[in-house]
Symmetry: D2
Subunit: 326 residues, 4 copies
């Protein structure tokens, strides 16, 4: 349930307001240089602090508990934890009777019979994406020679990201966005026949990221308006290079050696400063309420590095599978 | 690789032009009435023959080889096969040197070192969706009280499906479409924390269907242009009913008891009557060629029942998982 | 449930008195020569007919339904079925009220709420070992350069197998035995850390064979009576060759390059001609009854080739995993 | 690789001389009372200190990092770590060139290309059984009403355990033993058809415990010397109670409601004070050497609680699977 992958496997754990969030990475090859510093860049990219992100200060220093010896992976499982230092649980006490719209409060309460750690989303908090990012750093090392780059290409339907953020701050309402990701340097042949297509495995991971509601590969939904003669990518050399790339680098679920591209839809942050309606379990009626606390107005700003991590985890697994058959 | 599911598990096999295509369904509860007739409706819905679909005649009679005794499931694996009667392998011989654009010919040849059954797409053929449909029939029986309905809501970007098909026939070029699916009657709580979110599991299965290049849940990509105060669905009763349904019935990866909705992007059929460019491995240059044989101009017409099956397989698995914890 | 393996995966299906028994082998590399004749030797070795085995005539011709093209594996799942021709279901009708001691009748009835195919053991019949043997033939091809040989080394506690069989026939009572298996030519390094030790994976498969009640590797139970200085195998060259082999070729769950050896305990055939006591669900009292039908007095005679298959399936999987990390 | 289980899943990590050893338990139902004190009894049972065990002092205090809120399981993954305080890595430096006979030094070095943490066995150390014990405590809570009891019933082939230990201390050589385990109160029906038989799942886990070289269920190897009429357990009531229990509570891989019994063979501790022969990679010849450091002369003394844990983990998983189908 909290695991994914067939050879490169990750197991996630922890809660937003518990002691730690963490991840165990199993199936990482031995002999890869790895130290805490390697995580800095990607963790910084995910951090809050910019306009439109939460003012919470998260230290986010990885502690590598196992699987690394002399700054090198050993082949044993790598467990990495992040302490939770800066939490204000009291902010959440008042919300127990009023499940926040857009959040998982209501479904978690029902699924776990009220025993879930409700503070700050608990195990379902966006804070756990920090663990995905950490696993992504390791995955990227396996994908040597392959680059993965994601960025926020739309906010609130607008390509001028800064203006959209400024407007959101002015209007004090949260906004969504679109993150685009490109992977270069992949070999031909990643992706398994039928159920573990490259799209299947990547989308499975991407939809694990909170707030994601859509994904499309290559031309995606726009491709449904093309003719076949237009959408098909002409193959122009023996290595499979194509003239266009409407397929997003994947045919029949298998990478074709061209750039793998996908776009993901990030819904507006559920925690908005605006007043909203929800059911109050105590008064047994619909009531207006406002989410307090420090939240991102545009969570999509922090998603690119997480999307890269999701793609990297998926592709590292497919690459190791590929190697088993070569 | 050719399996999916944790409790309700399916294993697919077969090739388009081999003896059979088939599927084994493991983890189906004992005591469910099941006979060949149960498959008729959904298999007919998938069949070719309408305008815009291939004139190939596929008999598609299921043979239940195991797991059913006295017209009732036994709890043992259910294997269902479909014979391939109406194949013209010769049509494909000529294509070995010219990988068809948009198809998996090139990647399969590389992934399997040239040993793949290249006839009609082999194991990657759309014909295998017949097996998904069969598994979907069984899954739907497990989902008693839950309805799953999908339909083609756009063809070539147009909501007038008939007109779009007529135009495609006239222009002799293939087209794509959008299939919309709605699931009613789901309990609160399906979907596992983090990696096996309802969206993850459904998308994993949906991207196993050939020609799918995008999926969105609820408001999806359109939702990225909404404000949080607009996108959030107000909860209006103790059972979790919401006023709007931008979340598509899923919060935090878990079903919330409202209608689960998703839309999928079906690319235009790769086999188009139009001339196309591809690499010829013999002449070692780019050449023009045309796909022969009988093909669907709008494969999207046949996708709805397959999408229902994918959703049913995913949800039957999540429902059985749910039962283990109740 | 009816599947095993991580890369080399097998899915078993079918019932003793249904239409077929069969197996799907997923994850077999492409490019391996495979035809029906390859199965003959091992299937013959498993066959009934010798003294102490059932006089039932089983044709046991494999039909390869998928995954093989031009007598070569394609990389797609290989499904092999065996028709059930020679069954007398009526023999079993009378037994529905009297669960046979030693058999799974009682537990299957309860586990599957009475819906199980009770004829001849149904899906739990020893006939399904035919499918294991078929998968073993494929696995052995992957293990090129590695030999696996098993034989019956004890029957009824006696190393003179023929005399023990003759006595069982004379006394008209079933007997058990011990099967010993040796694998030569394995590389150093098969077996995964902790849970997927070579012993774990092999024992998991071996205990899937009906009638197996024990397994020991190397010196096994006898080794518990040795001193450490005696049991430890001195390493005598740089390749890891050891002077003795009390470890059975496995240290810390990982193959050490020496012969891998194990012994398995096969209980006496549950179906014995002798009268036995069991509960009669109709009369609601303990009653005497005798099993009719044609049965093996010493099922252990047919186990060696099945044990080889179990070992081969386990080791082929571990070998492919090993390759992914080299 | 370092994970096991289908619903009740455990993921193990850590090294003997690293920072921690730990385990993540996924799939534990919400609402179970759990606090650090619950682990005390079983952890004490595993501890060193008695005659025949190592004089190393291990504090072994569990730190529950996640998955527990208000002393109750939440349904999220439970991660438990144990700090390694009392390690003397220098003891092991000298051994790098001389792989210890009976140990995994040689195979780990080859499998992980020399990158493994070689100190004290690293990730393959017996210290990781502490994590199994912790997971066993949680598993036992799920198995409410079911008792699991294991004890050392033979040491050095002798049922007088104390005398055998005294002799080993006097002779300064390590010894092995046999651990017997009995599970009472199991329902009918645990164990899955074919590959996940109760014996398969239990043996898979038991062979994960270092030093285990054999397992037998019920009469086991002794049963191979019985006649069928003697071995078969007569069923004497409608609930499946049997007069004898040679099957060890399992028929056809499925629990039959009687006591589940198994015995496991524990080899003599590989680290013996006696001088031994091994290959020296530096001098490139076989040399005599003696293992230094503090070690158990009879590791089997510490195995019973670990065997209980292995059985509990296996049975908790099968019980949850069972519930999904009821």
């Amino acid at each position: 349930m909290n695991s994914i992958g067939r050879l490169f496997r990750v197991h996630i754990f922890g809660e937003s307001h518990g002691q730690v969030v963490g991840i165990t990475i199993d199936g990482c090859p031995a002999g890869i240089a790895l130290m805490a510093d390697d995580f800095t860049t990607d963790i910084e990219r995910r951090k809050a602090g910019a306009a439109g992100t939460t003012p919470r200060k998260e230290e986010d220093m990885p502690e590598i508990l196992s699987g690394v010896f002399n700054d090198t992976t050993t082949g044993a499982p790598i467990t990495i934890i992040f302490r939770n230092n800066n939490t204000r649980s009291a902010d959440y006490e008042a919300l127990r009777d009023t499940p926040r719209p857009g959040h998982a409060d209501f479904v978690l309460h029902h699924k776990f019979s009220g025993f879930n750690d409700y503070r700050g989303g608990g195990h379902s908090s966006g804070r756990l994406t920090l663990c995905l990012v950490a696993a992504g750093v390791v995955a990227k090392k396996i994908l040597s020679g392959i680059s993965i780059e994601a960025s926020l290409t739309e906010a609130d339907g607008n390509t001028d990201i800064e203006a959209a953020i400024a407007k959101a701050i002015e209007e004090q309402d949260s906004i969504g966005g679109v993150v685009s990701c490109t992977v270069k340097g992949l070999p031909v042949g990643l992706g398994e026949p039928f159920f573990d297509s490259a799209e299947s495995v990547i989308s499975h991971l991407v939809f694990s990221i909170p707030a994601i509601k859509g994904i499309e590969f290559g031309a995606g939904f726009a491709g449904t308006k093309m003719k076949g003669s237009e959408h098909n990518d002409a193959i122009i050399d023996a290595g499979g290079k194509t003239q266009t790339n409407h397929a997003g680098g994947i045919n029949g679920g298998i990478t074709n050696g061209n750039e793998l591209t996908f776009r993901i839809a990030v819904k507006p942050t559920s925690s908005t400063p605006q007043a909203q309606q929800t059911w109050n379990n105590k008064t047994e009626q619909v009531e207006s309420f406002a989410v307090k606390g420090r939240h991102d107005l545009c969570i999509a700003l922090r998603v690119p590095v997480v999307a890269e991590a999701a793609a990297a985890i998926a592709l590292a697994d497919l690459l190791l599978l590929h190697k088993a058959y070569k």
